[in-house]
Point group: D2
């Protein structure tokens, strides 16, 4: 049977880039029954060989062209610096390979759009490694929202702060906000697609880039998403609050004993006639509280990267894009780029690319 | 000696407004050796009489004019709705009384400016009841900053959120942010005096006003203050982080066991030559961490309102304005008003009045 | 109708003792529609008069005999030092009054037993003011256990520690453990009735009495209750864990945002054949985890003392003893007395009195 | 120079036991410049070979006799089940090797004593792998106590609870309490050497052994150490409080942001004449609080096992026993054994062996 034989034949993949993140990808491809890790590619041959030794001895290549020429591959996984993503991905797509790419998708929205269109034209899967989206907490949040447990989304407030290394090449938004943006895109029905974004940053140390900042993104229905990123905080916080009309969810990623909490508490708004204290009768808004139970769902303990490489295989076999496909990554990239422009102009800025359910427009 | 006799003669005060906050003021005036509470004034005579019975039996008046005509007073304390502050305060100043007024100072910056100028012209004390500024935590923060313990201020991030009543007459900024603004004005050397403010609000329930919002205020030297206020949060947070170049302070007002924490942790920035991973030598920014001890100072346990009425007496006797004088309250009011305009225009807005050390300009 | 007229006629009560706790009782009797507070009794007439003025002006008496002679009463509430409880209660019962008494019931188990028997013989209600039992958290815990939500009780671990005043007349067990014991008696089906108790105390400051200690009480079915009391702890903890075969409950009384948590987590024990690592086949115990959701029920916000005086009235009218009746108080007292003897003998000690569902035996 | 040449010649070690803990030891020996890992020994040859491959390819042996015959060794590290420790250690000592052994030292105090005496007679180092003692937190606690920062130790309260696997061969005391006991022995001047211990356990699931329990150990000067171990707790707690006459230390091992807190708070006891409320003048104890600052020292980030193998090497080279030498391990073992007897007799029990600064007596 074809299904069975497909099961029996693992997909052949190469990992390109053996630096910081590549080893994690290689380890997970090597451990997956869906995949056969056939090569590691890195300009630094010694680094590639070291990684190959730890992951069952795949082949080693020093360049992408050498890799594509010498190995029979179904797919590649790109874990190189962002500015090289476009060139490598385009070459791989041209060679008929499926492509998984580290965040951010590319160094510019234009380049990302190029990759999305090339993959679509070639009928290849283009997927982003938005790892957070494959954590048990985020998967549960997505399910809860999709099932209507939260009701309408009223606001999202995310805080991602700690004492961080000031990166040489990116500011705090490009370093940390991709996590929040990819999560938002994953959990919100329809993804993120804001008419404008507004960012404010500060560089009080004079490092030449924002070391802390705030990013605001309007959501449908008058809701607001707000992201606080900060490299200068002595305390580490990873906390996202999603206020809903029915329940409010708090995700505290640093509290392993109660990562998710759902509060059946809120404000109920009812229009009614009321007397104000100046004795003038008029229409007012009366609000009452709802103080219900709190509930913390149990979460499974799975390896997010293992789930992610499984999703990559499954998308390739089925042709169905993953929720973190190239278009999702392009939405994230587009907002990031708008963030930088907002910092420059000092006000709200519209993302360059609008990607909706029908694709890039 | 005059000092002794002044000590022996308490100042005579009336509390105007016997609603929500007036009773707290009356109780503290009645308990203070510096003060003699001689009258309660309220349109609702029964309410005034009830309060008078609980505070040692001062006289009762139904209107400000009745009060000023019938009682020999040194000072008044105004705890009526904000829109009545200007009229009452102007009458009291015209009658030669010192004036303490609830926050906000007035319903508009213009009215507040009027009051400040009238008090100055009449040589009377005008002071705002910014109660938070008289709490042990805030007093300690002010001392620590003044003593240079934090170094340069790099950022301030304040979160003041809870499940709150949607107020009939004010939005969440006017309800909650005066606390943060008055605290900032109190602890920062020179007070708050920003060239512009930027506010974003959301009204996802359709209540007709912002129920949650964010307010950003540039501080001198590239620093940024950010305030998050929210009526729709199921969890209550009262947390202010003040990042400094030497130490960072975290004030968690809901943790009575460790309200203030000072972190001797931070980021040290040093310019140096460094090699980036693409092997191109260039100037970069190298950052190293500093991971020192954490210290939580013990706080005294004093009643803030008791301290505040003592400060009012002391300012009257000495002629030296308190740190929460009319000009401080005007700076807070001016930023609040700019907040509302920023919400309307959707971008940064400059406060109408600039009050610096030399006064209103 | 008698029910209606009873409703319309409040019960007449006097509070005996106007020191630390009496004012709280008097205030709640005065505020209750079920009660008419007719007198305050205290050896210190000025203290009694002061309290009377604050509670609507009841009569004042200087001695219990004066009180019982001069006032028409249905009931008394005794808030005097423990060593005087027996004499006052016996006089009140002899005069046909119902009796509410502060914890501990009496200065000795024998005296307490005397009071229980006298009240029973006279057909009067004898009730203890175990205030904690009327808090929303404890009422909810009792309901949850009674409904079988926790399953069988496996253990109870209670920690009640803080920086406390070393009391002149009692040790840390008599000061703090009555709270834990009365709560345990209230929530456990059948109350506490242990065959023996074991206490260990320490007096490292040389104060002449235990300043910290541990008390262990066997529960039915091999379960164990353990109580940690400590006056020397710099951090304050009020935390009771009730491990059950179905769910485990954690009550953290100092966390107002999540006072009760129910964990659907535990250990499932199943007998099975298993291979141990020394390759000898034998019967072993295999345990597997159950990792389910956590749930935090919303709690009402009622005044415990208001509920308690309501229960007192209701017991008097119906003749049905309250769950904190004289026998409950006697069980607590009996365990406390055994605690002291255990400290003396350095080992387990059986309580002197066993009070079960059929009464004292 | 001999020092230099010693530095240049790593000590030769074999790890015996390749199961749960052996790999950690092997990895740390392999990584240390002080050591050369020359062999892995395990009855299961495949397991030994797997571990050897991961640690640089040392030799493999299937039995201790084969190991001692075939390899030139300075030292061994034993990570086999406790009941085999004695036989292996005695063989190694007889062969002139230094011995590191996993906790507990042996299956019985007698066997442990045998090992201590054999090592002393042979002039070999016998050391226990009490890993916790080499963590930055415990090292800092030891230093603080030694420097007198805490003053006299008044009490120690340790809680080590979580949802744990019910072990097939040991109860909760033997599983968890060795950690607390080895830490206490390490940080308390003179180690632990109690005249008696008192343990209480419960087996409410009917597993055949204690699944939760409490252990009390008198300390010099009227102080008390108390240890709570529990396999059935849905929440995980690792918390030790050390109350001192000058400062109190709280070690919360699950709070990486503030693992250690030192509270300059306490109770000051002063004898004085005082009037009690019954108007009888007598000697009483007056206590006042001291409410000072809290301080949380920064901790280094070192690998405890790396430090431990370094200490092993240093002890061998210098001949100076480590603080976790055989005698320390014997004190821990002796208390553990007394714990089991206390459970059986239902009361306090004296440890069989007393090991003081002069050695075993």
């Amino acid at each position: 049977m074809s299904t069975l034989s497909e099961r029996l034949t693992p997909l052949r993949v190469a990992v390109i880039g053996a630096g910081y993140w590549g080893p994690n990808l290689a380890r997970n491809f090597a451990a997956s029954p869906e995949w056969e890790l056939v090569a590691i590619c890195d300009r630094d041959r010694a680094r590639a060989e070291l990684l190959a030794r730890k992951t069952g001895g795949p082949a080693v290549a020093e360049s992408v062209s050498e890799l594509l020429d010498s190995c029979e591959l179904d797919a590649v996984a790109i874990a190189t610096p962002a500015r090289t993503h476009h060139e490598i991905a385009m070459a791989a797509i041209a060679a008929g390979k499926h492509v998984l790419v580290e965040k951010p998708l590319a160094h510019s929205t234009g380049a990302g759009q190029d990759m999305v269109e090339a993959a679509r034209a070639a009928g290849r899967i283009l997927m982003a490694d938005h790892t957070y989206c494959y954590t048990p907490a985020v998967l549960k949040i997505r399910d809860l929202i999709a099932a209507g447990k939260l009701g309408d989304i009223l606001y999202v407030d995310s805080v991602r702060i700690n004492l961080g290394l000031v990166q040489p090449d990116v500011d705090v938004f490009w370093d940390l906000a991709p996590h929040d943006l990819s999560i938002l895109d994953f959990i919100l029905p329809g993804g993120i697609n804001p008419p404008s974004v507004l960012a404010e940053g500060a560089d009080p140390l004079g490092s030449g880039k924002s070391c802390l900042g705030y990013l605001t993104i309007p959501l449908p229905g008058g809701a607001l998403a707000h992201i606080h990123v900060n490299w200068l905080s002595p305390t580490k916080i990873r906390r996202m609050v999603i206020g809903g009309s029915r329940m409010t969810l708090v995700w505290d990623d640093l509290n392993p004993q109660q990562r998710l909490s759902l509060f059946d508490r809120g404000v109920d708004l009812e229009r009614q006639e009321m007397m104000l204290d100046d004795a003038v009768e008029r229409k007012g808004a009366a609000i009452s509280y709802r103080l219900g139970d709190t509930w913390s769902p149990a979460l499974s303990e799975v390896e997010p990267l293992g789930l992610m490489v499984g999703q990559y295989a499954s998308s390739i076999r089925s042709g169905v894009p993953s929720p973190t496909d190239g278009e999702a990554a392009l939405r994230v990239l587009s907002v990031l780029e708008a963030t930088s422009r907002s910092l420059t102009v000092g006000g709200p800025v519209a993302p360059l690319v609008v990607v909706d359910a029908q694709g890039v427009s």
